[in-house]
């Protein structure tokens, strides 16, 4: 999993059936210091994250696990938590 910041949202009327009713957000990946790193991507939100919030997200097939096995959601990025604090030792 990686840290990221929600920087926007995407609106899609026509989409794959399992994506119906799911919130698509634009996420900017962050490094551990909170600085932007890499390119923004689209992730499905499953925790109610909002614009500007620091979140953690997972990539790969595991990103569809929050809805598994009820639904097979075609996504390779999902927001799975909202970050309160990060402490670096």
């Amino acid at each position: 999993m990686q840290l990221g910041r929600v920087v926007g949202n995407v609106v899609c009327t026509i989409k794959s059936d399992p994506l119906e009713g799911k919130k698509l957000l634009v996420v900017q990946p962050l490094d551990k210091q909170g600085k932007d790193t890499g390119k923004p991507l689209i992730a499905i939100d499953c925790v109610g994250a909002g614009a500007g919030e620091t979140i953690y997200w997972c990539r790969g097939r595991e990103a569809s696990m929050p809805w598994y096995p009820e639904q097979e959601v075609p996504t390779e990025a999902a927001i799975v938590g909202i970050v309160d604090e990060v402490h670096l030792g």
């Binding site: 920087v7 926007g8 995407v10 026509i14 634009v26 990103a63």
Partner: protein, 88 residues
Amino acid sequence: MILARVVGTVVATRKDPRLEGKKLLVVKPIDPSGKDEAGYLIAVDTVSAGFREKVICVSGSSARMAGGCKDCPVDTAIVGIVDSVEIS
């Protein structure tokens, strides 16, 4: 998932039988402001996207979860047609 724009089509007569009847499109990754990024991808279209449309592409093994792609040799699928992207 990434944003991309449809820039072409691919026609293939000889292909894996599980790809028969699937529309293959050439897509170019774009950033949230709509600017082209490097490279291109061949993606299976599951939402009837058209030329120059902005779409959402899912890659990797998750692409097989897109409609009609179960157990198919697919690693990129178009799963949504983008109406708008808001950047705050």
